[in-house]
Symmetry: C2
Subunit: 461 residues, 2 copies
Amino acid sequence: MHNDTIVALATPSGSGAIAVIRLSGKLAIEIASKAFRSVSNKNLNEQATHTIHLGHIIDGEKTLDEVLVSVFKNPNSYTGEDVVEVSCHGSAYIQQEIIQLFLRLGCRMATAGEFTLRAFLNGKLDLSQAEAVADLISSDNAASHQIAMQQMRGGFSSEIAKLREELLNFASLIELELDFAEEDVEFADRTQFKELISRIIFVLKRLIDSFAVGNVIKNGIPVAIVGEPNVGKSTLLNALLNEDRAIVSEIAGTTRDTIEDEISIGGIGFRFIDTAGIRDTQDIVESIGIKKTFEKIEQSQVTIYLFDALTQINNLESVRIEIEKIRNKYSQKPLLVIANKIDQLEDGQLANINTTIPDVLLLSAKTGFGVEQLTNSLLKLINTGALRNNETIVTNTRHYDALLKAFEEINKVQHGLETGLSGDLLAIDIRQALYHFGEITGEITNDDLLGNIFANFCIGK
Amino acid sequence: MHNDTIVALATPSGSGAIAVIRLSGKLAIEIASKAFRSVSNKNLNEQATHTIHLGHIIDGEKTLDEVLVSVFKNPNSYTGEDVVEVSCHGSAYIQQEIIQLFLRLGCRMATAGEFTLRAFLNGKLDLSQAEAVADLISSDNAASHQIAMQQMRGGFSSEIAKLREELLNFASLIELELDFAEEDVEFADRTQFKELISRIIFVLKRLIDSFAVGNVIKNGIPVAIVGEPNVGKSTLLNALLNEDRAIVSEIAGTTRDTIEDEISIGGIGFRFIDTAGIRDTQDIVESIGIKKTFEKIEQSQVTIYLFDALTQINNLESVRIEIEKIRNKYSQKPLLVIANKIDQLEDGQLANINTTIPDVLLLSAKTGFGVEQLTNSLLKLINTGALRNNETIVTNTRHYDALLKAFEEINKVQHGLETGLSGDLLAIDIRQALYHFGEITGEITNDDLLGNIFANFCIGK
């Protein structure tokens, strides 16, 4: 199956200065050389690995483009196979014509993630590293980038490998005892082993706990903003955005005109979800709105209650009651209360707000006053200790599931050790834990699993 | 000004498997080497041109990405300067971070087209070739691609250079005569020169005439489709699209849900513009619609009148009158009349249509009957002879203007020759014509002109 040569566009589709078309497989160089005419009459088949060659892509009589062709020889390539990258002009027409030409010359269109799948099958990456490639490509802030990068460079794999090695050692001693069952010997010192298992449980627990942080970092932290129209939600988000200098948006030329959007604060993604207020009302339409607000608060991890301090200055008691309702209903959920537009108030009025509304944050989205305090409050809600210390953080649900299963098996082992379970039964639980570790790094795998993982990749990777 | 080192993203913005960041300038390799740590401890400064190196982009303590770095040494690069291309993972975050890092290390953000501008200034391309790079990137069909490719490879430049050389030869002989004015000699055989000027006029005329074709090929041929809703406009466009196998659309995953769109037929782009019918009406709103229809017909080069033969079968006379009105109003403009949905009619009804409506094309967008005849009719409206014979076709308004001016001067020369104008006056007109040729290839240029040309490029090219 993996003997054929695949081709795909590796750069984003659309128009740009250049585009890169990638071939990988046994015939990659041979096929490319059929379409390529070097300006200096070089034969691609005879070129050294990691070299670049100027020439033209020729389709019969027709010159499709002037290109640079990069040659990578197995095993020194991304996939571990022979790889050719054609850097052509970035017109959709040219990209299409060149890919079609390679298909006619014997390539097959690559499926999603197939280049990385081949890298995994050829031992260039383990499975968790391969998964990190997709995470890296979709990372859009410093935190998710850091975690994906660490995982791709093998940080997660090596942590798992260490646990696995210690367990294997244990397992083999236990299994050795079974061979000498008649003689009732103990090769595995039970006290030492209890210690080892405790240590493994400690590490597993840390990894499992890290998923709570990892998952929100990967997917963005959902924050519900409760606030009526015109209280300054968009201005606030723009102020938060400026804190982080939204260079990505500037480059891409995007405009931010919805407040239901993800923005990066201190390198961490927050997804803001707009909601209306929750004033008591007899109106049916409005009570539907209130129900929706509660639903959105439930989906979120943090709630921001934002009110217009200027228009509500003589109405603070009803604001307080509304806040109290949310606080009572969601006592487990962090709630940040913000009085906006305070630049337009006098000192006495500000004091009044502070007295009436407990834990209120005075802010002016317009002048930027209070914005830094808000970002600090938001970041404090995320436990970024692991991130700062560059510890391994689990972000992948598949890994999390495997770790939970390994944890369960290891707990069985611990219980077995405490109750003096026989070695043969202990060994079964240990082997089961080892199996789940193997699932993460890909030592244990199957086609369905691989299919699921790589289907989420983009074509060309 | 062009001593600094520039950086830009060279691939389309957005997420993809990989992205390419390009540096060019004296310090390109030095700056890149500050950010790059090779996996095999290689020093970028010591690497041969056209080689590729695996390693990491490092920002202080932080690893930004695992990348491939390509090194090109002047003058063997696109710009003629030292060039480094960093092939990184295609996340917008990573692209941004790496570009920011290079800016901090001493690069400047490239302006639009600045890489190609430098290639021009360093003599790697002439001006018309540089302009062809932008045309090539925006080419989205076979015809515009062919013309841009020919121009980029120097076809147009060499045609202009030939004319220029012949004229220069002429000019120097005439000017030589001026040095011997006292002696009244004629180095330039007037009969031969009249012949030469006739030949130049012939070539210039062909080039100028080619602009009519070149311009529509570059910009797409505007076609107004006059037809009420539900007569089958979208189905017809999809049928035309299938004729050409819209592979670009398939790759990009676009859906075609507006009929105001460009599609490629026989390698040539047609821009279809939707209009309503032009039935007589007392209704004010509807007469505004009729006015708009006429406006759109005026903007177009071809008009297609499409009607539903099934619903109009007992109403053919009013259809005929409507067609007659358009034909009378725009007698100079090609009009294609199409009766759609003929698969649902009987032979007698078809005969009736043929008799009532002159030059009608019977078609079924659903079954595809008649579609090939329509594409042939559309293609016949474009004079593709020059395209087939791979002749130089002018597509650029700037070139067209310069050619017109040169043409005017050459005509003056011709007239001067016929009326026995003195050599010094002839020489002035010839020099003026040479000036306009020089404008095309960039021998005569200025900053404003260059600014205008390269401002239309994308950044990164």
